[in-house]
Amino acid sequence: MPNFELHSHKQIIKHREVVDDDWSVLKLVEDGTPDTVEVPAGKIIVPLKVWQAQREQLLGRAARKELGIWFASDELANTVKDDLDKFAVIAVDFPKFSDGRGYSIAYNLRKRLGYQGELRAIGDVLRDQLFQMYRCGFNAYATRQDRNIHDALKGLTVFSETYQASVDNELPLFRRHPRGALPEHSDLGAGI
């Protein structure tokens, strides 16, 4: 019995397109420990803890661009700040859609640490989160498999303007556009 499970998605959303995917996400099973798990061959996204425990053994595979890591939502972006350029993909897990820590992890990876590569949301990833995920720096989304991925794609185009700065927009609205003109159709004050 291996002490891990592999999860793969046939298709994910990447750069606003549905694409085939050949990565697998490795999850430790209950009694699996990061230092004993044997990472199988192929393109594998391993838990951050496995990378930390087996860094030396995994360096070669990373160099061949066959290795990614994933952050659990309670892990902090800066724990691997010097290794970021080694991974072909970094994923962030959303154990539940209501757990918003992954947004800060993504923000910190992009803004604070300057990570440039693929940043993938995994776990409980639903259409209605994609827009904010995109804004925080994700560019790939392994959406929930029991949902239509083409429907989910629509989640990326909900808003055409946003108020605040984030990863997608360096500048807040007030620095991007002159503001303040009243729209012509506004009839506030005229009653309803």
Binding site: L76, F97, S98, D99, G100, R101, Y103, S104, Y107, K111, R112, L126, D128, F131, Q132, M133, R135, C136, D151, V158, F159, S160, E161, T162, Y163, Q164, A165, S166, E170, L171, P172, L173, F174, R175, H177, R179, G180, A181, L182, P183, S186, L188, G189, A190, G191, I192
Partner: protein, 562 residues
Amino acid sequence: MYRYDQYDHLIVRERIAQYRDQVRRRLADELTEEEFLPLRLQNGLYMQRHAYMLRIAVPYGLLSTAQMRMFAHIARKYDRGYGHFTTRQNIQFNWIELEQTPDILTDLASVEMHAIQTSGNCIRNTTTDEYAGVAADEIIDPRPYAELIRQWSTFHPEFIALPRKFKIAINGAVEDRAAIAVHDIGLTAVRNDAGEVGFKFMVGGGLGRTPIIGSVINDFVPWQHLLTYTEAIMRVYNQFGRRDNKYKARIKILVKAVGAEEFARLVEAEFADLKDGPETLTREEVERVAQWFNPKPYLTLPSIDPRAEHAGDKAFANWLQRNVKPHKVPGYASVVLSLKKTGVPPGDATAEQMDFVADLADKYSFGELRVTHEQNLVLADVEQSKLFEVWQQAKARGLATPNIGLLTDMISCPGGDYCSLANAKSIPIAAAIAERFDNLDFQHDIGDIELNISGCINACGHHHVGHIGVLGVDKDGAEWYQVSIGGAQGNESAIGKIIGPSFSAPQMPEVVGRLLEVYVKNRVEGERFVDVAQRLGVAPFKEHVYATPIPAGAKVGEDEYA
């Protein structure tokens, strides 16, 4: 007041389209109820005891008359003819059909309103002083800053799924009228020695299960850094706030666990990266927003004493004394329209009353209204010479009860009549107390007192900071009420102390009566109830209240809540 530009309109419109589609998907079962829940909550839609309840944002409590008329319209068309103004300066409608909510939002958008982030684990409506812009003790008008926070926090991508809800209050005056000490972030405007404006940041206040007064983590954050400093706090909270237990998930628990000093250090480390970044406010942006709050076209008027003209009219004099507040511009005053008429749930207004107050505001107060966190409405800019007229008209509609700040001006949450979380009813308790002490002479003699009632530990009725606080508790399936005294909001915020075992509903008016007896017996000139309660402590009150059994209904209960 603030007016939407094309971007504000666009964002609200796109939100409605998004939400309309979410409702469609829910009805088509493409979304499970579990998935739909956070989506509808972020749009202020709760499932309550009888029906859906929709909470609409009134940003910092400021309303145009067109907006108020829209509430009347919603009350008539989609609800049962009334709405409920809340302690968070919003309005709630209690009888809403899910299918109709997108249309309600469309109606609201036509008057520049929405229900964005009125619930859910995100940054909620930022509240402020109902006298902002007209108070004589004001350091700055906090409303432009509240609007800047509103915009910055609207759909903030990173802070949309926080450990728990998040509430910011901002006060621009010497006296805190925004209850900042019991908010997740409480901001006070300050000036430094050089006369520059900044904000004192209090963090980690809150009521609910664990009531805590916030801690000051920075005495002076220059106004330019308002949003970036707030962002630093939010990022610390998002990463480190507890998520394993929803009762320990508020920022107050984090601040308490790590200590205010350490928390401040974490925030500073985060802020170091953000300081002077693009989200730093510019003078142009603050001025752009502030222009909407510019002084009204006030007339040059003499200050008059309206009392003099109507000497001998005691009812008018009472109203002037309680419901009319001083104004920084000579010849003007602010009027509080009481939503606390005996027999009406605190904060409730009918569609007819809403239309009527809109007419009043158009005629007498530059077409603007405010909602207070004590659940009343304010006409902020009334000419003193018009006060008598305003009083007569308001009186005819049941909105001139001269009880502002008095015993019957109670705060009460909706409680068991509407709220599915309630342990006990609140509205009938408020009504029973109001009925017993309906006598205005008695109330005026008792003077300033705040009685706050919550139907459960969530503390929506702010019972912890009531001079007298009443909390509904459940004991063996029956409804009981726990009483505390000595709580206070404002500059001297304090959490009240429980006086002893809880009471049955019919006992409550007598309990309040006995508390007042102790007060009357012990007060010295000018002392308010809360002053006496804090000076003497719980003991003499407890002694008197429990000295003899309280008649009416059940006997005083022994229970574990005491």
